[in-house]
Symmetry: C2
Subunit: 151 residues, 2 copies
């Protein structure tokens, strides 16, 4: 699925999110509610496999529900390096990310934190860069400082 | 495989590349030679599936040879959006890329073209960004200018 460039739904609480789903005519099945709750409780982006294990649900059912949440504008997915795609709620606005290829660290950033980087890309190439779906990949300060042999 | 941050082997011609493989004690089998030739002829990064079809080789054999070329420092792979990983020779130095999520356009850049972007990332977050393996993703000037409904 191509990640949407459309503004997503704003919500703060689980009840808001459930109301947004109902407004779109979507049924709140138990797995759907569980997936939504687990995304609220997660501290950052999580994989479908992680959710399936935690919730003791079939991974295909978790995927289907994540897709519905994404199509409804409540969730988004992103790709960190070679790992599985990760899922996150977007009720407070989409986030952008930095990912360290050395140690796997992820830095979650507020929407405007990368604006100067984005402006440099625009200035040089006219591209409108977006690091929500495919974050900036590189080495974190710690990994960048350590000699290559130790990475 | 974690893309290497080590400097890669320099080579200009197919003969140089074959010599570099022999120096590493690697046998030049027919599939290996064919894959190397096809990478030389390709105009940009290509997928293993594309090479397998073109060379009428087993895709597993193409993958194995691409992996050997990458481990030997002659080739690299990169990820453009949701597509398969793509492979490219690095004899003239690694390239960095911009990828348009709208139309699939790929812009290949010389190593220092993104230095100002990299400097902004370093200044803000201390990360050493690298767009060889996971390029900058966004919308190209044309897609960024067209109304969302037409993308």
């Amino acid at each position: 699925m191509l990640a949407s460039y459309a503004p997503s739904v704003r919500f703060e609480t689980l009840d808001d999110a459930l109301a947004a789903l109902r407004e779109r005519g979507l049924r709140i099945s138990t797995p759907r509610r569980l997936v939504l709750e687990a995304l609220f409780e997660a501290e950052g982006p999580v994989s479908a496999e992680h959710l399936a294990r935690r919730l003791e649900l079939d991974v295909a059912s978790v995927y289907r529900n994540l897709e519905t949440l994404e199509r409804s504008g409540l969730a988004a997915h992103l790709h960190l390096g070679h790992g599985p795609s990760l899922h996150v709620l977007v009720g407070r606005g989409e986030r952008e990310y930095l990912y360290c290829e050395g140690c796997g660290a992820v830095e979650t950033l507020v929407p405007d934190a990368l604006d100067r980087v984005r402006a440099e890309v625009r200035r040089g190439f006219g591209y409108e860069a977006r690091f929500t779906h495919f974050p900036i990949v590189g080495l974190c300060p710690k990994c960048a400082a350590s000699p290559p042999g130790r990475r």
